[in-house]
Structures are given as structure tokens and as C-alpha cells.
Subunit: 480 residues, 2 copies
């Protein structure tokens, strides 16, 4: 499936053909010596899965896929690439939504390009139950890390729908958010240590489980969210969390978005801990109900808020009291966590949406300041309604973070750019971000000026040029 | 007072005299046009307070003290300095403990040097009660920001003893920790937006109150903790927090450091929120009692842990139950927060220590992994005991962060270096940091190799050179 999505600029370039750039043969010989014959793939069929992202929207070309096993192998691979001028596309679970995990199409560059896949780097260390942390190789999945933590009574603070495939390296390099972010913070804030290979092959390593360590620049924070453009992350030391002893999940049908925002504020003022907070609309809930999920509340409302709350004492009573004191609550339902049926109604959105659009869904991931959320939500709900380019918007998101996933169904493919820009126009007018948690990748490179001014972009380029002067790491990602 | 502390290398350099470097006159004329005559100080008496840190241990020299009022003025000041090659020492509240806030002694450089003081940049914006944030100019104090937040029923998440003087720019540029860090995170994690002037005078500005904004590198996180070496922070948009509705402060005398660590783990497993956690020793408590504070518990113990806990329901009963279930609790006392008398026993340490040493106290601020805390604590308690260089160690700190403030009393001045290195030896052997929350400044430059390897330090220097190629910002800080 090729999407006509205008974000997909790379995949529309004409591939000049499979002829590899000169000089790659020597490099491949060296790379085979480092990682072993079987871990340098050059057969097109074997490479195919590494060259297309999971949505099928982004496709690229590479001279080889290289699968190192250790940090030392990554270091030697990158050093060889630096020596021979080979560009590197770093790939984790390949679950990204902005085309950052696959290489660009062959673009006439005289430099060869490899995909460096972390697929074999799946080691997870022993859990430190006192320091509450665990080290994982870049290719370990979110689900595997959480499982390992769970065996020690702890949990991984990052959770997202792609947990079975998304990797440690991927969530850190994209600074992933997810459903637990309101409580635990983004991926960047959950890193205690990091190991990464710089563009010259040298290994940067901070690997002490120190909460406080003010010795110079926070390089782990710089690498987090840098989307593989500054270094290849090889291992991460993650902080782990104590899951709440008891938690309640409530879904309330509410009259206005403001009611949901107020509910969250009241919850934390009452001493309750907000573990998660999701906003849905009647359009989304109805669609999900059409696909076999039960409606959360008996009475419908224009909006629905799902909150998971924890604390000490009788959380269920406290939650009931809270809902009773919140304006605009039409109907509400409570279940003890994990309340999978209530969560399924929220998590079912993605699939229901994908099945309900006559054209590829235009999926945008934006955020706005909490203050602007009600107005932005209202404006975004009108995109495509009585518009030049009619389409059907379905919004949902992580309300506590001001993060809205904008799904535009039935967009005429030829108008995807206009519709995208109309969403970004609303977002920027409301002081928001064109990328809340998915990153820039290749998809949004054309729009970074909407989120960062010229000085800011120039500063990023200065740092990129200083750490990767030849531009070998993830070419085309973040920067055009 | 001049300390013989060996960390104080700059102040021991011989000042070659007050002769200003050639060419400064033109620059000063330009600077006066930017900030006004009265805000360019060159009179030695007027400058004195800006050239010595509050401990009196660090003294430097400058050709002028320049006090801009706005970001625009800072931008023009820095641009003029860049034009004329004048170096800049950035100063906030001048409460730092590692000599980073005062200029170096005159060092024979042909470049002039000014102190850029943010003392006039004290504006604090309106509190956004929905987005829970407030913008403050760099010179606004921690206390003033907290007061402003308090008027809206919110609180500033950073608190430290120097709250009346420490500034927004200072706490961010040093990535301050403090007593609320276990709950709220370090200064870096409380920044929503930042405005800073780069070395060429251009203004970097990210000023949206977005929790999620994944558009490229996290430059605010890079500037936080960079100690003024990459840019001059002019404004910060801080996240604010909802203070707990109800909290209990308990101090328990315990047999072992492990007991205190276990108490914290049990508290969070029980769903209680740890707002603060401090460790003290009998030596410290006895010293504080000698200076007029009451002992916290009736029965003494070798160690004391102060915890402030919040949650929902009956926190006092929950805390009592928790203490009853913790091993090694000898005696304990509870009071509802703020429990100022219990806190005073902890906060009284600094003054009691300063008054009890026959020589200048060697104060070191280190951290170790939580797992290593008991052993490191024991080893650090033995420094100077039956040693070649006898002295009296008193330790206290933020136990939840693994952060120990090491105070060495009665150190023979000529042995301060040896004693310091003996502490750092214990710290590094335990995988710890030579600077937990105070930073490197000038004091610890000689020891950064203990905390960062060669690749790491080289990477930091690469970033410094890229963003401040002429080394005009805070020369001598962080890098030798």
C-alpha cells in the first residue's frame, strides 16, 4: 500500500535503480567480518521488511541491512562506515509513524547506505530492585522490559499500543510518550544511563544509576528525541516504577472538554494520582461501538473522559465523590484497574478508524497548551466539515498532556496536503506543536519551521554538524 | 574570608593588577548605551559584591558589571561582547557553592571580561492556573516564584535553603535539586519553555507551555545544567505543582541506613507519595541539638530519616502503620506538614556545622546509586577517623536521590586536597558522582574526569566549541 499522503515525500522520489554506489563492496566485506556473513543482508527479499515501515507508507533503498549483536560491533560498524563514507539508517522495531525508521529512497548520493538494525540486540539485564532500574539493549521491546520489571514487582514507566515491537532504542530516540506519560513522564525523563555510538564509532557511555549527577551537559537528554541523527543508541538504563497498589478506572460522559480538564485538576488537588487520562468524542465512541465494543456509559455525551486514579484509602469512593463534584458529568462508570473493557473502548479507536475510512487516514499527532485545549479541540473537530476538502475528523488523545491524535477519514488523496496544513494552521495558531510524541522523521521535515524559529533550527543544525560533520547518521531525518 | 580549600584554585592566582585590557573602553561605551550609565559598574567598591561568592571562597576580577533589564538588552550586550571579544561571566543570585557565579581572577588574557548580572531581571508573569505554569525572568528568585504560585493555590516545584536569593536562571543553569526533588524532579524536568541569548547575541526562544513537543533536539534540557557556558538564560517558563492537600512529616531514629531506604520503598508501594526524604546521623543531630534545636525523637539512634508523605485518606494512620512495619525503627515522631520544628532540625545542620569547625569546612556534594548508599555512607563516615589527616565528618542528605552532603570539620587546611580526594575516591569506587546537585563551576574542574570519560568530555567540548567558538561565555567554568 502506498499512501498518497503528501507527508510521504521521500517515497515519491523516483528510485534510480538498484545499482549500488561504487566502493560499497569493500565496506561490505569489512562489515561481514565484524558482524558475520549472515548478518549482512543484501538480498532484496531479505531486505524488504527493513525498507518499508509498518504502515506501508514509507519505503526506501539500502545497499545492505547490517545486524550487529553488541555495542562493540555497532562501534566497529559505525567506524567502518565513517571510514568509507557509508550512510547509516538506524532501525529499531520499525513502528514509527513518521517514516524515521526506514531509509530514504535512492537519491543519487554517491554515498552508500546501510540499515543498521538493532533486531539482535535484545538483552535485558537484571532488575535493580533497590535502585529501581534495569538496563536494556536498544533492540529490547517495551513489552519485554515491562515483563522483566513485572517479575520484580515493578513496571516500565512507558507503555504504548506498539509495546510488542517498539524498542528501547526507538522509544528513547523518538522520546516516546504513551498512555502513562501524564504519570511517569516521557521517555527522556526515564533514562538513568545511556550508551551510544557516535558518528566516528567512539562509544559514549553514562551508566550509573544516579538520580543526581550534575557533571556537565546532559548528553542523554540530548540524544533522547534526536531520532538517531546524533548517535546510535545501543543500551539504555531505564528507571522503573512501582505500580499503584490499587487504582480505579472511570469513564465519564461530559458536556464539554473543559469538564474533563477540570476533573483532572480536581483529582490532583484531592490528592489522587492521575495514572492516565484520555479524551474521546461521541463520533469516536460510536465508531468503536459499531466495531463490537460496548459503549462505556448508558447515557451518551458529546465527550468522554477516561481517567485512571490511584492513591491511598478508598479510591473508588474518592473517585465517585470527585465525579459528583465535577460540572458537566452526564453519566459515569467505574471499574477497578486494569478495567480492560473500559480501556479497550479507547484503544479500539485506531483499528475502528482504520476500517472506517474510504481513503488512507491522515493521522496527525499534535499538542496544544492545556489552556487552549477546548478551543483547539473544537476547531480541529470542524476540519473538513463544510470545507473545500470534505472529510470526517475523529479526535482522541492524552488530555492531561494536551496531546490530540487527529484522524481525518475519507480525505480525498489529492487533498491530503491541504487538510494537513489546515490542521497545522489551527495547531500553531493555538501555540501548539506539530509533533507531540511521534517526532519529525521524514514526514514532517517540511513543517519544522512551524514549531521552531530560524535561530532554533540553526542551533540544532550546528549541533548536528558538530557531532556528525559528514551527515552520515539518519540522513533526511529531522533536517531536510 | 579566604578559604585554603584546594578547590579554590582561581582565587589563589596572583592578580596582576587592575589594569583593564586594551579596547574595553569602546565596549563599555557601547554597553552603557544599551543598559544605561547607571547599570555599567566599574567602580571597585560597587563591583566588589559581584566578584566574591557568598562563601567568600571564590574571588575574581572583571572590567565591569553590566546589569541589563530585558532579554533584548542581554541580546545587545552579548552581541557587543562578541563583536569586541569581551568575555562574559553570568551571575544570578550568586548563591552557588562551586565558584561558578563569580569571574576568574585576572589571568593575563588579552580579552576583557564583564559580569553580566541578572539582578534587574526579576519580572514574573501571570500564573496559568490551567496549564499550571508561570514565566519568570532569569533574576526572579525561587522564593518570589513560589510566592506568586502560592497566590494561585499552586507551588513552585523547586525548593532549597537559598530560596530568598537563588534565581530562576541560576537554578536552571546549574540544574538544581533541593528538598523537593524526590517528588518533583530536578530543575531541568520543571522547564516548559526557555529563552536564552546565544554567544553571538541571537535569541533562542521556546515558549509554549507544551508538555509534549517532539520537534528536534531538546535544547532547554541541554542548557539546563550547562552552567552558563552555552548561552545566557534570560527567561524560563516553569511548570507549577499542586501542593498536597494533606501531608505528614515523620522523623524516625533507625538502626541502619538500609532501614531508611526500605521505608521509602514501602511508602511508595503502599501508595503514599514521598514528598521529601532526608537522612541524618547522630553526630549531626547532636551538633544541631547543641545549637538550640530540640532532638526529634526521645530515644536516639545512629541514623535518622525524615520523610514527608502525602496521599488520600488518613495519612497519619498510614504513616504510623508504615513505621510499625519497617525494620530497625527505634523511635519515631509524627507531625502534620509543614512541621517546621522537625524540618528545622534538618535545615539547622548547615549553620551548626559552620559554627563547629575550627577550620573552614570542606563541603562536598556527592551522590551514589541507592543500592550503594549504605556502604558509601559507612565509608564516608570514616573519612578522617584514625586517618593520616584527622577530621570530623558529618553527613546528611537527600536519601531518596542517593545524594549525600559531606561536611568535613576541623580539616587541617593544608590537607584539604587529600581529604577531598579521599572522599572522591570512595564516591567513584561506589559508582557515584562528584557533583550531585551543585555542579562543577570552577571548584571541581580538576576532577571532571572522575565523572565522565574521555569520549564524554570530548563530546561536551565539541558542543561548547560549536555554540561558543570563541569561548566567551563563562570562561573557566566546567572546562579547565
Amino acid at each position: 500500500m502506498r499512501s498518497p499522503d503528501p507527508e510521504d515525500s521521500d517515497s515519491r522520489r523516483v528510485d534510480p535503480g538498484p545499482t549500488p554506489p561504487a566502493g560499497i563492496d569493500d565496506a561490505l566485506t569489512a562489515l561481514r567480518q565484524i558482524v558475520g556473513e549472515t548478518n549482512v543482508l543484501t538480498d532484496p527479499d531479505a531486505m524488504a521488511g527493513f525498507l518499508t515501515d509498518w504502515t506501508g507508507r514509507y519505503r526506501g533503498a539500502a545497499d545492505a541491512v547490517v545486524r550487529p549483536r553488541t555495542t562493540d560491533e555497532v562501534s566497529r560498524v559505525v567506524a567502518e562506515c565513517a571510514r568509507s563514507g557509508v550512510r547509516i539508517c538506524v532501525q529499531g522495531g520499525n513502528t514509527g509513524l513518521v517514516g524515521g525508521s526506514v531509509p530514504p529512497a535512492r537519491d543519487g548520493s554517491t554515498n552508500a547506505l546501510i540499515v543498521l538494525s538493532t533486531v539482535r540486540m535484545t538483552d535485558i539485564g537484571d532488575v535493580d530492585t533497590v535502585g529501581r532500574c534495569v538496563g536494556a539493549q536498544a533492540g529490547a521491546t517495551v513489552g519485554a522490559i515491562d515483563d522483566r520489571a513485572g517479575r520484580s514487582g515493578l513496571a516500565f514507566g512507558i507503555d504504548l499500543a506498539s509495546r510488542a515491537s517498539a524498542t528501547a532504542g526507538g522509544v528513547v530516540s523518538t522520546n516516546a510518550g504513551g498512555t502513562r506519560m501524564i504519570r511517569r513522564g516521557n521517555a527522556r525523563s526515564q533514562i538513568l544511563g545511556i550508551e551510544a555510538v557516535l558518528a566516528d564509532g567512539s562509544v559514549l557511555r553514562r551508566w550509573t544509576s544516579l538520580v543526581k549527577d550534575n557533571v556537565g551537559y546532559d548528553l542523554p537528554s540530548l540524544l533522547a528525541g534526536s531520532e538517531g541523527t546524533l548517535a546510535v543508541i545501543t543500551r539504555v538504563l531505564f528507571t522503573l516504577v512501582a505500580p499503584p497498589a490499587v487504582a480505579t478506572v472511570a469513564v465519564a460522559a461530559v458536556e464539554r472538554v473543559e469538564n474533563a480538564v477540570e476533573l483532572l485538576g480536581a483529582a490532583s488537588s484531592a490528592g489522587l494520582t492521575v495514572e492516565a487520562a484520555e479524551l474521546m468524542t461521541e463520533a469516536g465512541v460510536a465508531l468503536v461501538a459499531d466495531h463490537g465494543h460496548r459503549r462505556p456509559t448508558t447515557a451518551p455525551g458529546p465527550f468522554y473522559v477516561l481517567v485512571e486514579l490511584s492513591g491511598t484509602g478508598d479510591i473508588e469512593s474518592a473517585t465517585t465523590e470527585l465525579l459528583g463534584a465535577t460540572d458537566g458529568v452526564i453519566d459515569a462508570v467505574l471499574e477497578p484497574a486494569p478495567a480492560r473493557a473500559l480501556w479497550a473502548g479507547r484503544e479500539g479507536h485506531t483499528e475502528a478508524i482504520a476500517r472506517s475510512s474510504s481513503t488512507p487516514v491522515v493521522k496527525l499527532d499534535i499538542s496544544v497548551p492545556i489552556r487552549a485545549l477546548p478551543e483547539a479541540f473544537a476547531e480541529l473537530s470542524r476540519v473538513g466539515v463544510d470545507d473545500r476538502f470534505p472529510c470526517r475528523p475523529i479526535l482522541f488523545g492524552h488530555i492531561g498532556d494536551g496531546n490530540i491524535h487527529v484522524n481525518l477519514l475519507d480525505v480525498p488523496p489529492e487533498h491530503a496536503t491541504e487538510v494537513t496544513e489546515s490542521v497545522f494552521g489551527i495547531v500553531t495558531a493555538n501555540g501548539g506543536s506539530i509533533s507531540a510524541e511521534h517526532g519529525i522523521g521524514r514526514a514532517k521535515v517540511a513543517w519544522t519551521h512551524l514549531g521552531r524559529d530560524a535561530t532554533d533550527l540553526a542551533t540544532m543544525r550546528t549541533i548536528k554538524a558538530a557531532l556528525d560533520p559528514r551527515g552520515l547518521l539518519n540522513p533526511g531525518v529531522l533536517f531536510g
